[in-house]
């Protein structure tokens, strides 16, 4: 009797739970159409731009319906490998905000080799995509992803601070940049810092500083070059400025560096297009300029991108690639840039009249041809960043000697990239 009763209760609870299965989330079932799902992590201010791309694609392709699910990047990183393994994952996904993450998915054969390349609007125009991106996503001669976006970093500066220091305009050479940073550091940074630098939890700025001084992190073979004399000089020039001249606070995260500039406590910051609206709403008298040219007279900046790839197990490879082609097409990218302020990920929109007319977009767009990726195609790049580069900068800006810090970093880098000398 008692057993029966407990069974009844248990059955009752189970039944009520099963009743809920009737309310399970519905998918956008559309008869006869091809349904594609896309996972991305674009949660920031540029999100409406991506929604527009999806909407326009659906409107112009009546036989395909794309649904984009936005989730935090962390969640995608946690679920995507398993989701794609089970075959129930999205047809298309941006696996990470880090372009080097695609290597892992290529290794496990989880992503499709893209074949829909060529010219014209229905194909992916690989020759027109931002420099380095095609190479970045090509493994063993096959292309596995397209750039989902492309951002360059430019120099933001506080016009009021410049005027107060008597500096006429933004610096155009790296020497001017360093001199201005020193001049704009008031009271040892207590009142104002010359340049707001971030070294962790950020899109990296320090590689740009190194490139401007003629140094780099790894060479083409993936071997560390921070310990070479050129590498060390490119780092020590700046670490001396931070440690001795206090041009920047030490150890800032990207968010803190942005806050410092927004609060008017730093006169300059190297940042991407996403920051402009925030700075303006914080009330900064904002100026944006190209990153100054380096010691060799050439223009350079960091390009940041994220991969957009197709699942190897998708049931609609053709349609998925059509979507990628549309995403990277001229029309979609022009509209995207105008809407979000991001530069287009194509090089053939540099002379586009509409983009040129927008002052923010035009600066970032003009930097696209000179942009370089951070640790492009480097094996275990994420670990190189977390275990070697970020600690390296953290140490030299806190007073550790550049010689010893770079020697340690070089060992770590080489062991991670498998560099054999």
């Amino acid at each position: 009797m008692k057993i029966r009763r407990s069974l009844v209760v248990a059955a009752g609870v189970a039944a009520s739970m099963l009743a809920l299965t009737a309310c399970s989330g519905t998918s956008g079932a559309t008869g006869g159409k091809v349904d594609l799902t896309v996972w991305t992590g674009f949660t920031g201010g540029d999100r409406p731009g991506y929604d527009t791309i999806v909407k326009d694609f659906n409107a112009s392709h009546p036989n395909i319906h794309v649904t984009m699910n936005v989730q935090p990047w962390d969640t995608i990183a946690q679920k995507l490998p398993s989701a794609w393994l089970t075959g129930q994952g999205p047809d298309i996904a941006a696996p990470s905000s880090d372009p080097n993450a695609i290597a892992q998915y290529v290794k496990t054969n989880s992503v499709l080799a893209l074949t829909n390349t060529g010219s014209g609007d229905t194909k992916i125009n690989t020759d027109k995509l931002a420099p380095g991106t095609v190479k970045e996503f090509t493994y063993d001669g096959k292309l596995y992803a397209v750039p989902a976006n492309f951002a360059t970093l430019s120099l933001y500066y506080n016009k009021k601070a410049f005027a107060a220091a008597g500096i006429a305009g933004a610096p155009t050479t790296v020497a001017e940049l360093q001199a201005d940073a020193k001049k704009l550091t008031i009271n040892g940074g207590q009142t104002q810092y010359g340049l707001s630098l971030a070294d962790n939890q950020t899109i990296q700025m320090w590689p740009i500083l190194q490139w401007l001084e003629g140094g780099d992190i790894v060479d083409a073979k993936g071997c560390s070059v921070v310990q070479t004399s050129a590498g060390q000089k490119s780092l020590s020039t700046w670490s001396d400025l931070v440690v001795q001249d206090k041009i920047s606070p030490v150890g800032q995260t990207g968010a803190q560096a942005d806050s410092l500039f927004s609060a008017g406590k730093a006169a300059m910051e190297i940042n991407g297009p996403w920051a402009a609206p925030g700075y303006k709403s914080a009330g900064i008298d904002l100026g944006i300029a190209k990153v100054p040219v380096g010691v060799d007279g050439s223009s350079v900046t960091l390009g940041s991108t994220a991969p957009l790839a197709v699942s190897a197990k998708t049931k609609h490879p053709q349609e998925a690639q059509e979507f990628l082609a549309y995403w990277t097409s001229k029309t979609a990218q022009e509209k995207f840039s105008l809407q979000t302020g991001f530069p287009p990920l194509r090089t053939d929109l540099a002379d586009d009249a509409k983009l040129k007319a927008d002052p923010t977009v035009s600066i970032f767009t003009s930097q696209v041809p000179d942009s370089r990726l951070y640790l492009p195609h480097v094996t275990n790049a994420t670990q190189v960043d977390a275990n070697a580069y970020v600690p390296l900068i953290g140490q030299i800006t806190r007073g550790t000697s550049v010689a010893s810090a770079t020697a340690d970093a070089a060992k770590t880098i080489d062991s991670l990239t498998g560099c054999s000398k």
Partner: protein
């Protein structure tokens, strides 16, 4: 973000077997309705399992089995999505004992736990002593102290991250008012871990306090009478009567807070992501990074089993430490 550790509000830990029925079998005599089956057969069927079935099934399927699966992963260079997995035997474990990041994370986690739990217990006990009376004011103060406990770690980490930001935070703003330079709490290599410990203590002091309030109220007045008759002063009373009387609660609170602190993740992840230069890198933060950022599922599983063993060990140690001194 663990949902398995939640904070209880009861005061006493387990005492084995007390209050159980002397007979565990079902009554052999028939029930009121004379159900034939119970009268004839000698039942060996244990109803306990039926009572426990829903919980055990769910915990078994959705927690215990996955835990065993991660143990399995830890013996391989497990990569999600790979067609074959490389067997490593104890390779991952050997690797982790040679990994300086593991030792760093272990040190950070132990330091964090030691300081956080010690402060939570002492401050919780102290405030419980001060707020024992039941009047409106003490009730309000107790509620306020307890409130942070119900807020998620993510929200708390986010708010304190902003509060401690030298540019927009209240802390920075107030120090500027005083004419001082705002301190960069979370990016200073020496201050980051203390700051995280502070926030953890801030959150859970109220929880410890509530446990102790309940326990202190249950101490019979006669004990104090007896102590006073022996001429003890306040301090001696506290030391020799109050504290021993609440020892079971002390054990319970310490155990739960220790288990929670050893698994600290959300707070660290939101506030510092293990930085600066790994000064606040907790073990679960390391597991998360190795598992989901570096895609090394096997290695991360090995580290999590070492953490699990550590938690189990410390819990058993605490049980030992407190139980045999139980004068109740």
């Amino acid at each position: 973000m663990s949902t398995h550790t939640t904070e209880p509000a009861l005061s006493r830990p387990a005492r084995d077997g007390a209050g159980s029925l002397p007979r565990n079998a079902e009554p052999v005599r028939p029930g009121p309705r004379g159900d034939g089956s119970t009268r004839r057969r000698r039942r060996r069927f244990q109803p306990a399992w039926l009572f426990m079935a829903p919980s055990l099934i769910i915990l078994g399927v959705f927690v215990l089995f996955p835990i065993l699966q991660t143990l399995y992963y830890s013996f391989f260079d497990w990569t999600i999505g790979a067609s074959t997995q490389t067997f490593l035997g104890f390779g991952n474990y050997i690797k982790l004992f040679q990994d300086p990041q593991f030792w760093n994370a272990l040190g950070v986690t132990l330091v964090f736990t030691a300081f956080a739990v010690a402060l939570q217990i002492t401050l919780g006990f102290g405030s419980a002593l001060m707020l024992l009376k039941d009047n409106l004011i003490t009730r309000i103060v107790r509620s306020v102290y307890f409130f942070p406990t119900i807020v998620s770690f993510v929200t708390i980490g986010l708010v304190w991250k902003f509060l401690l930001d030298p540019s927009i935070g209240l802390v920075g703003g107030l120090t500027q008012l005083l004419g001082l330079q705002p301190v960069a709490w979370l990016t200073s290599t020496s201050l980051a871990l203390p700051s995280v410990i502070f926030v953890a203590v801030w959150r859970s002091v109220g929880f410890a306090m509530i446990l102790f309030v309940a326990a202190l109220k249950a101490v019979p007045a006669e004990r104090y009478e007896a102590g006073r008759l022996d001429g003890a002063n306040n301090r001696q009373l506290t030391l020799h009567i109050t504290i021993p009387s609440v020892r079971p609660t002390l054990l319970f609170a310490t155990m739960i807070l220790t288990i929670q602190s050893l698994q600290v993740f959300d707070l660290v992840y939101v506030m510092t992501d293990g930085g600066p230069v790994f000064r606040t890198d907790s073990l679960v933060n390391l597991i998360y990074r190795d598992g989901f950022v570096n895609y090394q599922t096997g290695y991360a599983s090995a580290v999590s089993w070492v953490l699990f063993a550590l938690i189990m060990l410390l819990s058993l140690l605490q049980l030992r430490l407190f139980r045999y001194n139980d004068v109740d």
